[in-house]
Each structure stands twice: as structure tokens, then as C-alpha cells.
């Protein structure tokens, strides 16, 4: 947190109070290290309403997870520099004290982690961990909390929850463990649920069950959900909107429908191209993106995607020098690319879409 945030005048905060349930404005999370400053998140903004689901996609190292940790205030405070604003239900989080943010965690915003085995404490029973989460925000007796925990385990579809509540995480199967994790996250009815690759560690049949569960529960609780994944399939399944991240920034933001059918950024094309589709001929090959994600310490000048972009030359050298801004090109559809809009539409229609 920078000093300016902490001393921000009250009227400024008043004026800037947004209408959306969650609004992130120009969020930057940088980590100074011996090797240089790691710009994990570098100026990210988005909004999210209750009952809606936002999918954040991108390759590993694009800053997705750091964003979610940043919202929850779980980034390493000792070595992170955070600026920008995060508004949750009218409260600004970046400028809040760690204690204020802590009180919100678990109660107003909760998170489901990628690897449920490593994310649950191996020494405590599942029940105990849910009870703990519940009691820290609710002043109830252990017995009541236990009943609630059993109830939650039942609601996420764990059979015989009254027995399994006393089991240890390692005694659960992978899918059951993720259900328990979800039960724990939902134990205090959070209004914002962040799911960080909730299904990556699971096998395919279980994946579908978990995604169904999250959707059902979202409807039931009317929460806002951020779904972080590199799997476009998951996003297509669950999300209303989609935010594509590259090198700590948003390169395209759109409704799911637009993103899949009228994507406006070459990186999104690449993501779509590298997604296997069951409804296609097997003989057709995937089109993986060349190269590897950039170092977050030495982000390339100009458009950070240009070293991997097959169309970079078409910008007349602009991509190498100038960083493209994220512009709203259609209502609700933003992208950051130097290519003229028309040219992009042509390329999509002519070269990319037919191959997908």
C-alpha cells in the first residue's frame, strides 16, 4: 500500500464511490525482488455485480492469481507494492487496514483454491476447519458451528456428512475434498466468491460436478463469482463476462458470447485456437501460441504480446514501441490492440474462425 492511499482525503473517496458491487480500478501489484520489479498486476480495472460471474483467463504467470489474492488482501504484504482501488460493496480495500480486510475475508468474500489437498491443513479434520471458519465470523457455540458444518457438507453433496465431518483431508477423495473446500468457503454466505482454478486438479467427470455445484450455489446465494482459469471451456460453461489477461494487464474484456464469437485481440484468438474442441474433426490441428509468456520483470516494450503476435508487423512498427490502450470498441467489449478494428475483424473471419 502506498502512502497516498492511506492519506486519501475522505471527500475523494466519497466522490469515487462506485455503484457496482465490486469495482477494481487501475490495480497494480508489484513485487520488488533482487532480480528487478515483478509487475504481476499492472493497471487492471473491472466491475462485477452480484449474481454475475466473471471469468479471468490467461496463461500461467499472467497475473490472474495475484489479482485474486490482491482483492482478498492475501498477497505478501512485506514485499508487495499495491496501488489502485478495490471497492467491495462500497468499501475501499487497498486503503483499509489489514484488520479491516481480514474481517471481510471469509464473511463477505471467500476463495476456493486450486489444490484442495495442499490448501487444507493436514493436521485438522475437515469439520474442524469449517467450524473454525464459521466461528471466526459468527459468535456461536461449537455445537452450533458443527451442525452448520455438517449442513454445509451436505449441501455441497458430500454423502454422510455427519460422519465425514470428522475425517481428515487426506481421507477424502480429490473431488470430495474440493467440495469440502467449497463448503468451507461458503460457510459464511460470502457475497463475493473467487474460485482460482477450482477444477484443474480434478479429473474430468468430477470437474463437471464441481462446476455444476458452483453454479447452483451461486444461484442459491446470489453471490458474485470470479472464476480464474486458463481453461476457456470452464469459462464458457460458467461465466457471464470474460477478462483476458496478458502480462499483468487486461487485453480483452467482453461478454462470453462476444469473446468466443467476435474476439478482437490476437492473443484471445491464440487462446481459442489452442483450445481442443470435441465438435471438430480430430484431424485438424490445434494452433498453439508460439513462444512463452514474457518475464514480468522485463515486459517487452510496446505491446507486450508483440514478440509472439503473428500480426505485429501489420502495425507498422507501432507494436514494438507503443503500448496499446484498452479501448471500448463495441458496447461492453474492450480490447488493447494497435491493429485497426476492421483489419482485426477481417483476420478473424477469414483466417481464424474457419480453423476453429
Amino acid at each position: 500500500m502506498t502512502a497516498s492511499d492511506e492519506t486519501a482525503p475522505a471527500e475523494f473517496a466519497e466522490r469515487a464511490r462506485p455503484s457496482a458491487f465490486l469495482e477494481v480500478r487501475d490495480l497494480k501489484i508489484h513485487f520488488p525482488t533482487d532480480d528487478g520489479v515483478v509487475k504481476s498486476v499492472d493497471g487492471l480495472s473491472f466491475q462485477l455485480e452480484r449474481g454475475r460471474t466473471l471469468g479471468i483467463v490467461g496463461e500461467s504467470g499472467s497475473g490472474k492469481s495475484v489479482t485474486s489474492l490482491g482483492i482478498l488482501g492475501l498477497h505478501n504484504r512485506q514485499n508487495a507494492r499495491v496501488s489502485g482501488e478495490i471497492w467491495l460493496d462500497g468499501q475501499e480495500l487497498v486503503g483499509s487496514t489489514p484488520e479491516q480486510v481480514r474481517r471481510l475475508r471469509g464473511r463477505q468474500m471467500a476463495m476456493i483454491f486450486q489444490d484442495p489437498l495442499s490448501s487444507m491443513h493436514p493436521f485438522y479434520t475437515v469439520g474442524k476447519q469449517i467450524i473454525e471458519a464459521y466461528r471466526v465470523h459468527n459468535d456461536v457455540s461449537k455445537a452450533v458451528a458443527r451442525k452448520h458444518a455438517i449442513d454445509m457438507l451436505g449441501r455441497v453433496g458430500i454423502p454422510k456428512p455427519d460422519q465425514r465431518v470428522d475425517d481428515y483431508p487426506h481421507q477424502f477423495s480429490g473431488g470430495m475434498r474440493q467440495r469440502a473446500m467449497i463448503a468451507m468457503a461458503l460457510s459464511c454466505d460470502p457475497e463475493l466468491l473467487i474460485a482460482d482454478e477450482p477444477t484443474t486438479a480434478l479429473d474430468v467427470t468430477v470437474q463437471a460436478q464441481i462446476l455444476d455445484l458452483i453454479r447452483d450455489l451461486q444461484e442459491e446465494f446470489n453471490s458474485a463469482v470470479i472464476m480464474i482459469t486458463h481453461d476457456l471451456g470452464v469459462v464458457a460453461e460458467l461465466s457471464d463476462d470474460i477478462l483476458v489477461m496478458y502480462a499483468g494487464r487486461c487485453v480483452e474484456y467482453a461478454a462470453v458470447e462476444d469473446a468466443f464469437h467476435r474476439p478482437l485481440h490476437p492473443y484471445t484468438w491464440g487462446l481459442l485456437g489452442s483450445m481442443p474442441r470435441l465438435d471438430r474433426e480430430r484431424s485438424e490441428r490445434l494452433m498453439p501460441i508460439k513462444g512463452s509468456p514474457p518475464s514480468l520483470i522485463n515486459v517487452p516494450d510496446g505491446c507486450p504480446f508483440h514478440p509472439r503476435c503473428p500480426y505485429g508487423e501489420l502495425t507498422g512498427g507501432k507494436a514494438d514501441t507503443e503500448r496499446p490502450e484498452l479501448r471500448e470498441l463495441e458496447p461492453g467489449h474492450k480490447a488493447a490492440c494497435h491493429l485497426p478494428l476492421e483489419q482485426r475483424r477481417e483476420i478473424w473471419n477469414a483466417e481464424i474462425a474457419p480453423k476453429l
Binding site: 489474492l69 482478498l72 492475501l74 512485506q78 489489514p98 481480514r102 474481517r103 471481510l104 475475508r105 471469509g106 464473511r107 471467500a110 476463495m111 483454491f113 489444490d115 495442499s118 490448501s119 487444507m120 491443513h121 493436514p122 493436521f123 473454525e132 471458519a133 471466526v136 465470523h137 481428515y168 487426506h170 473446500m181 468451507m184 468457503a185
Partner: protein
């Protein structure tokens, strides 16, 4: 995991421990009887060590017979084992002395039974090791945890510099230094060799052990501070700590309930091993401070080629290690539900 499983496990471990002790004693035997023979010594030469001031041929022959040195090493070993199980007779002159089981034999040098000597020396070593262990565990772990929590702070850096210094200092140097400063110059604590048993003079016992405790504990505390810090940092990086925070738990709860418990369990194992080894004789510390413990006994016995005493100490030392390992493993299983005894 029922109590029967635990019991069965402990029994199995104890059988393993006995096998291990057999191995340890066999190796000791080998070093004393087999190695010299390899190096070219005859049985007469070995026996000559234990004859006294007039090693005539007949005296050597008598000694060989008395100490069973004329038998093959395997038989001698069998004789020794039999003594442990069934006791042993010893010709003390006009009558025969019986040493009841478990009999660890008689010293080759002083003809005294070994077990009473061990029992006599053990309290000094126990006093030294237990006191130091308490000191280093409390201080080392505390410093390590604080260092990990304030990583990069002045406290952390200072503590780690001191800790690295601590593990780099030989105990006999710090011991001599502390004696020179606190005993010889400042005269705050009594000098080396002033140890008195607790039963005789508790106050003096305490006074005489302060320097050895602190010196020994300093070395280990330094090691444990480093271990604890590393373990704590490792744990703090675990996903489940992030989960605990994500649940909105206060930082204090996260540290004490979630982080400490996991990071201290490996420390427990190391602690068991360290304490076990120390209980078998803190050789260097006892030597530096002239504490009449098992380590001093062992060194004297080794220098005197007094095999039964050496065997006694090594067996006792190995027993301590094995037992403490067992205790630690059982405790570990109690702490970490993933560990199954078996």
C-alpha cells in the same frame, strides 16, 4: 488406528531396536578385537593390556582365561550376550561374585561391574543434557519463530548472524572462553569440574551447570533457531496457511494454530535424535567442563582399552537414541494424522 495397532507397532519397533543394539555391540566388539588382529596384534598382546604391572607369561595366560580372550570373538560375544540375559559369574578371589542380569560385564581395568558405573555416571549427563535441551528448545524455537515472522527485519538479521556464528563455534572453544571469562576472571560461576550431584547439593549442582548448559544450549539454540525459521518460512508459504488467512482468521490464530504446529513437528524429530545422542554422553562438553558423565567415562575407557565399559556406554547411548526415536515417532503419529504407524 486402534490402541492395538500402536502396541503392535511399538513392539515391532522394540524388536527392531534390539536388533540394532546387537549390531552396535557387534561393531564395538569388532573394533576392539577384530581390528587389532587385522592390524597384526596377537591375543597375547591384547591380553597384555590388562595384566597389571608384572606381565609374565603365566599372568598373561591367566588374564586371557579370566577375560575369555583366548576364545574366538564370536564366543566372547556370545558370553557377553549371555551375561545380559542370564547374568554372569566373576572370579573375584576366594569367592565367586555374581552379577545379576542384565549384566554388562566387568571392567577389564578395574574389575568393577560395568552397570553400576553407568548408573553412577548417568545422572551427570542427564542433568547436563536435559537442562541444556530445555534451554535450547525454548530459546531456539522462540528466536526462530520471531525471526520468520519478522523476516528481513533487524531482529531477524541479527538473530541469524548470531545463529550462524553459533553453529560455527566449536563447543570446546566457547566452553573454554566462558570458563576463562565467567569463572576465571569474573568469578561469577564455579570453574570446570565443580559438578556435584543434585542429591548432594542442589544449589551447587545448579551453579556448576549454568555455564555448561548455556554453552551447550547456545550451539543447539543456534541450530534450532535456523531450523525453526526455515521450517516456519516454509510453512508460512504453504497453501493451507493462505486458506487459513482467506477464512479471515486473525493472524495470531494463523501463526499459533496453523503454522507453528506444522513447522514444529520436524523439529521434534531432530530434537529426539539430538537429545538421544547427548544422553549417551556429551563427550566434548563433559571434557571441557570436566563433568563426570558418560562421555568422560567412555573416553577414559577407550583410552584404556576397557572394552566392557566402552560397550556399556555405546549400548546405553544407542538405547537412548533408539528409544527417543521411538517416542518421537509415536508422538509424530499423534500429531500428524497422515502418519500411520506401521
Amino acid at each position: 488406528m486402534g490402541p492395538f495397532n500402536v502396541l503392535a507397532y511399538i513392539i515391532r519397533r522394540l524388536i527392531g531396536a534390539v536388533l540394532m543394539l546387537l549390531l552396535v555391540s557387534l561393531v564395538t566388539f569388532g573394533i576392539f578385537f577384530w581390528m587389532p588382529k587385522l592390524a597384526g596384534q596377537t591375543t597375547d598382546q591384547i591380553a597384555a593390556s590388562y595384566v597389571g604391572k608384572a606381565p609374565t607369561a603365566e599372568a598373561i595366560a591367566a588374564t586371557k582365561e579370566r577375560l575369555h580372550l583366548d576364545q574366538p570373538v564370536v564366543l566372547q560375544y556370545g558370553h557377553y550376550l549371555k551375561g545380559i540375559v542370564a547374568g554372569q559369574d566373576f572370579k573375584a578371589g576366594p569367592e565367586v561374585d555374581h552379577c545379576p542380569a542384565p549384566c554388562l560385564g566387568y571392567s577389564f581395568r578395574t574389575s568393577q561391574p560395568v552397570l553400576p558405573q553407568l548408573i553412577d555416571r548417568a545422572p551427570a549427563t542427564l542433568s547436563l543434557a536435559a537442562g541444556a535441551a530445555l534451554l535450547w528448545l525454548v530459546s531456539g524455537v522462540t528466536i526462530g519463530v520471531l525471526s520468520a515472522l519478522r523476516r528481513g527485519s533487524f531482529l531477524d538479521r541479527a538473530a541469524m548472524v548470531i545463529a550462524l556464528g553459533g553453529v560455527s563455534l566449536p563447543i570446546y572453544f566457547t566452553g573454554l572462553l566462558s570458563l576463562a571469562i565467567f569463572s576465571y576472571n569474573l568469578k561469577i560461576f564455579p570453574g570446570g569440574g565443580s559438578y556435584r550431584p543434585f542429591s548432594e547439593d542442589p544449589l551447587h549442582w545448579f551453579e556448576s551447570l549454568v555455564l555448561p548448559w548455556v554453552t551447550l544450549a547456545f550451539l543447539y539454540a543456534a541450530m534450532y533457531a535456523r531450523l525453526t525459521r526455515a521450517g516456519m518460512l516454509e510453512t508460512l508459504g504453504e497453501d493451507y496457511i493462505r486458506t487459513a488467512r482467506a477464512k479471515g482468521l486473525p493472524e495470531k490464530t494463523v501463526i499459533t494454530k496453523h503454522a507453528l504446529r506444522s513447522s514444529l513437528t520436524p523439529i521434534l524429530t531432530v530434537f529426539g535424535l539430538d537429545l538421544g545422542l547427548l544422553l549417551g554422553g556429551a563427550v566434548l562438553t563433559e571434557n571441557t567442563f570436566s563433568i563426570p558423565g558418560l562421555g568422560q567415562l567412555a573416553i577414559a575407557a577407550i583410552n584404556g582399552g576397557d572394552l566392557p565399559v566402552v560397550l556399556g556406554v555405546t549400548l546405553l547411548a544407542a538405547t537412548f537414541v533408539v528409544l527417543l526415536n521411538l517416542v518421537v515417532d509415536v508422538l509424530y503419529a499423534a500429531i500428524d494424522p497422515r502418519v500411520r504407524l506401521g
